[in-house]
Amino acid sequence: MFLAWREIRYSKTRFALIIGVVVLISYLVFFLTGLAYGLAQENRTSIDKWEADGIFLAEESNTNINMSMFPKDLLEEVNADETASLGVVSSVIEPNRETDEDAKVNATFFGISAEEFIMPDIIDGDAFGEDRQVVADRSLRDEDGYEVGDELSLSGMDLTLELVGFTEDSKFNVAPVLYTNHSTYQEIRASGFGQREDEIISAIVVRQENGDIEAVEQTTDELALYDIDEFINNLPGYNAQVLTFGLMIGFLVLIAAMIIGIFIYVLTLQKSSMLGVMKAQGISSAYIGRSVVGQTFILAAFGVLTGLILTLGTGLILPNAVPYMNNFIFLITITGLLISVAVTGAFFSVKTVVNIDPLEAID
């Protein structure tokens, strides 16, 4: 480390430039990770919020909750520790008052029973009580300027709802969720299909001790039970998104490592005559190699940590609408990965060091 540090101190500009490149790349990797994670969360926070273990959907729905419809009576045909009925429908909402911007928002309605476990906690205003009252995700307040007490109208529907409160972490398919009771849900849903006699729901969410969904019983073959993670992975577009971002991030990590590796390699080649002199003096390849690896570690650690700090800083000043979110496990993993892959790249240079012939130092 003695040689590594002294050289960095002596060639400050050169090493500052290398660290600069590492900073930029790791900044990109971290930031992209934050965005990918944030976006992935917007698909699923409302589901994670249930802390459920499984979900029943209509047998023929192919895990697509939008295509799942069955009578609410089927609730009696399943037996789990806890069950909750859920109706899902998408719509477009708009406040009835004058607003500055175009406040039309794509939203998803969750029809639920207030006494069942998927009822969200209220962070502002009140829970829905009467028919046609709704509770919305806070993003409607923070990003779209909705307020408690707003009258909401639904596109293509002669129906007015009252916004009575806000909850948090409730996004489904990148859209905010509005919670309401089952009878209001029936009204919203039915307007597209005409009135029906039965109460229709989309899913039954279940909790079972120790997450053991094998133990959940059902006495109907109209419903199929899915593990909650399987359900999330099959959300439309979710898996493709996660895979795309995952691959991009993976490649970026590799590219970052290669760039650091190539820099170190070129530096080592440039120094080869000096390293030959050192070897002629009897300084071992192991000592020189350790200093090359140590130097790479210093460069990578400095660059990656600076990139990390920049990312965290950027996260603080980003507008709410950007789906950026920190996940410290990911950040720590990527930090470790970037540094260790860069250090691995340095071993190519160590090979060069070993191969340098000290004879070249003479003449």
Partner: protein, 223 residues
């Protein structure tokens, strides 16, 4: 006591179809406290001899003994270790590391040995070479003669028993060259080392105890 001894050492190079005998069978020894110089025309095999003694390459046949140890028969790694302990190299273009100050050039030896750096010891040595005021300078800030003296300090610092200098004065003017050779001669006597200096300049040999001439791979003592 013989610190350097060659027994029937040879070096041949296969160069295409030709075989070059860079060093014909040579018997040669240098005692402790002896300052030997080797002169001879270009391509005669002087550097080859020096690198064989220093263990940078092994003889094609015969033996090299350093301090009565069969140096030339050691494994590459052990030879490097012994070289670091026993041999101080001084090269034509100085063997200083560009990003280390004169002080750190010496300190590096302590780092490798895991010993503690003794500033007053370093200053003493640099003082003997009259460069103690340059202790915090980088090689690029030193003149040719100062660099060469710093290189000598580096070669002497870990107190090797053998000093090998390949044209240490090539980049210096006559006055500086005499100064450097004078220093080498005094250190050899004072610390009882065996020193070999390869040079082109016959005038410098007046400081030496014995002078050898290398010609076409044959080493002979000059009377």
């Amino acid at each position: 006591m013989k610190l350097i001894e060659l027994k029937q050492a040879t070096k041949t190079f296969e160069d295409g179809r030709k075989t070059i005998e860079a060093l014909k069978p040579t018997d040669f020894a240098v005692e402790a406290g002896e300052f030997v110089s080797i002169i001879g025309p270009s391509g005669s095999g002087k550097s080859t001899l020096l690198t064989i003694i220093g263990g940078l390459q092994t003889p094609s046949s015969g033996q090299v003994l350093i301090n009565n140890d069969k140096f030339s028969e050691l494994e590459e790694k052990d030879r490097a270790k012994k070289r670091f302990e026993e041999i101080g190299f001084i090269l034509q273009a100085s063997n200083l590391i560009p990003f280390l100050t004169v002080k750190d050039q010496l300190k590096l030896v302590n780092k490798i040995w895991n010993s503690t750096f003794d500033l007053s010891q370093a200053k003493n040595l640099l003082g003997e070479l009259k460069i103690d005021d340059l202790i915090d300078k980088y090689p690029s800030d030193l003149s040719g003669g100062e660099k060469q003296r710093a290189a000598i300090a580096r070669a002497l610092y870990h107190d090797p028993s053998v000093i090998l200098a390949d044209e240490p004065t090539a980049s210096l003017d006559t006055d500086r060259a005499f100064e450097v050779v004078d220093i080498l001669s005094r250190e050899t006597k004072k610390k009882n080392k065996a020193t070999i200096m390869v040079t082109h300049d016959e005038r410098l040999t007046e400081y030496c105890d014995s002078v050898y001439v290398m010609k076409d791979g044959i080493l002979s003592k000059k009377s």
